[in-house]
Symmetry: C2
Subunit: 400 residues, 2 copies
Amino acid sequence: MYQFRVLSKTQYLSQVDRSHKKDFNPISVPERLLLGPGPSNSHPDVLRAIAQPPIGHLDPYYIDLMGEVQELLRYVWQTDNRLTLPMSGTGSSAMEATLANSIEEGEKVLVAINGYFGNRLADMASRYKAEVVTVEKDWGEAFSLEDIEEALLTHKPAIIAMVHAETSTGVCQPMEGIGDLCVKHDCLLVLDTVTSLGGVPLFLDKWKIDLAYSCSQKGLSCPPGLGPFTMGPRAEEKLSKRKEKVPNWYLDVSLLNQYWGSDRVYHHTAPVNMNFGIREALRLLAEEGIENAWQRHRSNAEKLWKGLESLGLNLHVAEALRLPTLTTVVIPSDVNGKAFSSHLLNKYGVEIGGGLGSLAGKVWRIGLMGYNSNSENVENLLNLFDTELPNFREKLSSAA
Amino acid sequence: MYQFRVLSKTQYLSQVDRSHKKDFNPISVPERLLLGPGPSNSHPDVLRAIAQPPIGHLDPYYIDLMGEVQELLRYVWQTDNRLTLPMSGTGSSAMEATLANSIEEGEKVLVAINGYFGNRLADMASRYKAEVVTVEKDWGEAFSLEDIEEALLTHKPAIIAMVHAETSTGVCQPMEGIGDLCVKHDCLLVLDTVTSLGGVPLFLDKWKIDLAYSCSQKGLSCPPGLGPFTMGPRAEEKLSKRKEKVPNWYLDVSLLNQYWGSDRVYHHTAPVNMNFGIREALRLLAEEGIENAWQRHRSNAEKLWKGLESLGLNLHVAEALRLPTLTTVVIPSDVNGKAFSSHLLNKYGVEIGGGLGSLAGKVWRIGLMGYNSNSENVENLLNLFDTELPNFREKLSSAA
């Protein structure tokens, strides 16, 4: 009979390759204040929740907790969508889930690009064999209703995907009225709310958003690792009529719904500890009240903007389009932006972000998100800019 | 100008729908001893690591930690593969990653099915437009070298996928010699090591495995949420020559390698806290020594098998093929298996699993994995079977 050989410990020892057996010290994570584009610091109660011993993914207690997570996600997103759940991956996996579950091969998908994440949507959509078309704006601007309607008329897409809060530029895309255009032109609307959920006013159902996704590590004050996902009735109907299986097993909502819905059919082993965390994060947000959280983000952002401008710095985005969660600051021409942000991290443990894509080297990105959106953090950061930035300005040559 | 409307708190309050704003209590997770098919309990040091405040995914400390995780994964898998990293999802996402990165549309993929997870491989492979063919064995048996060679000769597949440790049946598939057949017949070998990594002797490079995946919540003593993934040189070469992009952005190893490799190009925001956890879990396993962990799993499993048999219970799998990490116990015909396992969970907080698929209702599944593989757990569980199981035996009718 062909069986597996059970050797003695000594025999195994002689076979084991120890070249990758490194002797590392116990983990010791440095303290950081995360004021970049994310992750943001987590609420201490959320970290305590994540450290609870795991339980089974079909445990009656866990099944109840799943329902709680879904219900509170509906609250913070302001939606009644039945299919609202956190994907077992980061925000990018939820982004991919919105496309994988809505695109059928050969369909036209219009992506509105005014930053890095619009480009990512276009790349992803192409992998699901969509015919991708785009409408573009400069990085730092938003689309008007006319821009969107013109693009819908020109391309007649089955789906339009756009970004509510562009983390790469700091622009908040106004959404009122766009959903009505999509209904009128018979097209599904996919919205990236990664940097808005929990921090920026967001009315998914009022705005007629068909699919949306977000992340756990920004406005929700939880570590990264879960990707909130939601799908409305029009998208659900399309899913039920698909000709082919969703071309991504892990993110297939028709399978996931058998686990998250009433049947509780095993799909994959849930990341239970991360779900302990998001449950607690959402509970804390509901306790605060979503309108209070929005207000808090707004007033701390305004304080930051005022402070930065009073230090003589310029903000990249016009005030009317500025995100309360993420501010892009123009790096002065006589400053090495990377050297300054490395200095803040290494000397003060404060993380701020650099620019992405076409804004690389041109802006810093400052996040005030979730637990980190408070006036003490704003004051500390403004003090650091005030005292440290002058040391990074290149001396003008005496000849000048 | 089209801008987003900033309302006052009172105005927002009047617009906010509070129907999903539920007032839940702070989280309070019940204590469980997880002796089912997984998750298993985590090592307390791992839970402490996961609860550290997050840091940035491009923080120099985090970059070092990524390298540590990769190096220790190579050790526990016994591989030199450069492309060894944890996928930012559960084990199923890593399963999907092995297929998404290796299959090109229209290729023939042979799946060796002797349990539930073989079927999952076949379903997933079909979504990547493979021509899926199968070779099958009863649930509880393993494939012989002759079975595999005959199937390779018959189907001439580009890829064969099989399961080292079938969690649904408790069978350990002997692997010595199969990799040589795959080289001979010019076919890539994908191996599921979800229930073997860290607990069952596993020599990825010696066995010539081209792609493998696992999970964090079994032999590694970490919560679920990461999917270790590895890809050898033959698979890497195939990936580099693909005609089309990998049809899954999130799991595309050619992109992930730009982040995990030396370039450190941002792909997605890593689940940093889960990676704190797996780093610590792998460090503890290296400290123990992989051959000692194998031996520990083996001796605790043997103690369990002997104890169950001395209670008059039958094991589903022949001893020569039994997994040390997962034991399938035949449910006596006069016992309601589900009622007994619910009793253990509700009264003692001890989780054991039921059967899946064709073994549903026929077996219990008992896991002794990672941190939970110790003799105290074996003794406690045997005591529970000894004292509680008789109460669940149906009385024979007096007429019998």
